[in-house]
């Protein structure tokens, strides 16, 4: 069956995010001086085939750890649901 996985990748805490810092600075310029921190991440959506949810999760984990995420810089979390349920 087909599954939809949505992977959120973010920089690990402690890894400097100059992009987030530039966005925060722009927000401050626009008057949003109540924003004290911005971190920019990535959202990656996958459609994949797997017999059941456990297998689908294992496949997504393997894909994250072998390519989508660089563990030196980043960490990740994902949601998974059968495709076509919404």
């Amino acid at each position: 069956m087909r599954w939809r996985a949505v992977v959120a990748v973010e920089l690990k805490p402690g890894v400097l995010d100059p992009q987030g810092e530039a966005v925060r600075e722009a927000l401050r310029r626009m008057g949003h001086d109540h924003v004290s921190d911005v971190r920019v991440g990535k959202r990656i959506q996958l459609l994949l085939e797997a017999a059941e949810e456990g297998e689908a999760r294992a496949r997504v984990r393997d894909i994250c750890e072998s390519l989508l995420v660089n563990p030196v810089l980043e960490r990740y979390a994902f949601d998974i649901e059968p495709e076509g349920e919404r």
């Binding site: 400097l16 992009q19 030196v72």
Partner: protein
């Protein structure tokens, strides 16, 4: 000696690296990213550029290319491998070098000369240089900030794996690292471009030592 330069889709310093190898007196041959057999070469260069358009992360997709299986086998046998700029990013993404390279601290693409200090001459790519020697080489990167956890940086220092440091740490790299090597020393990555500084018409020969080093290493010349 015969030097192979890998061409990935999006490499743009491959011809410069081939030309630099020839100027240094080697035979230079291109290696294709889709070919996993890497044979008949004495050293391999992964050149600069924007392989796969830097999709996902710089170097991430190139690290999965068929040629990298051959590069891995070559490196495991002790073969000399040098990654320059995007090549350095690829070697880190492939796990052949420690750490990772990401956005420069100031988000700018830095394209100018930088001063480096040679930290170790034990690698086949630095044998002709002296520890403490100062080199001025061009950089051209947006994602050259070297990141490693602090305890790993300490380990790299203790194991003599820092190869070059920036005099002025313009991109915010951990430990001002401009180049590192693997534990054995045969795989080296560096952000500056030695291949762009190999003859007078290119502004001098400061980069030539990196290429000349190979011959000394092959001849068994060692330096402290």
């Amino acid at each position: 000696m015969r030097l192979g330069v890998v061409i990935f889709p999006g490499s743009n310093c491959d011809r410069d690296a081939l030309a630099a190898a020839e100027i240094a007196g080697y035979e230079a041959v291109p290696l294709w990213h889709g070919e996993s057999a890497v044979e008949g070469v004495d050293a391999i260069i992964l050149p600069g550029g924007f392989s796969y358009g830097d999709a996902l992360r710089a170097g991430a997709l190139a690290a999965t290319a068929p040629v990298m299986a051959g590069v891995r086998r070559f490196a495991a046998r002790g073969g000399a491998v040098l990654g320059i700029c995007n090549g350095f990013q690829i070697l880190c993404e492939a796990g052949l070098l420690p750490g990772a390279l990401t956005r420069n601290r100031d988000l700018a693409f830095h394209c100018h000369d930088v001063a480096l200090t040679v930290v170790t001459a034990r690698t086949p790519w630095t044998r002709a240089l002296a520890p403490g020697e100062r080199l001025v080489l061009p950089v051209a990167h947006g994602e050259g900030r070297y990141v490693v956890p602090p305890e790993e940086l300490d380990r790299l220092e203790a194991q003599d794996q820092i190869v070059f440091r920036y005099e002025d740490n313009f991109n915010g790299s951990c430990g001002a690292v401009a180049g590192v090597c693997n534990r054995a020393g045969n795989v080296v990555g560096m952000m500056p471009h030695p291949e762009r500084r190999v003859e007078a018409v290119l502004g001098g020969e400061a980069g030539l030592g990196v290429f000349r080093s190979l011959r000394l290493a092959a001849a068994g010349v060692t330096r402290p």
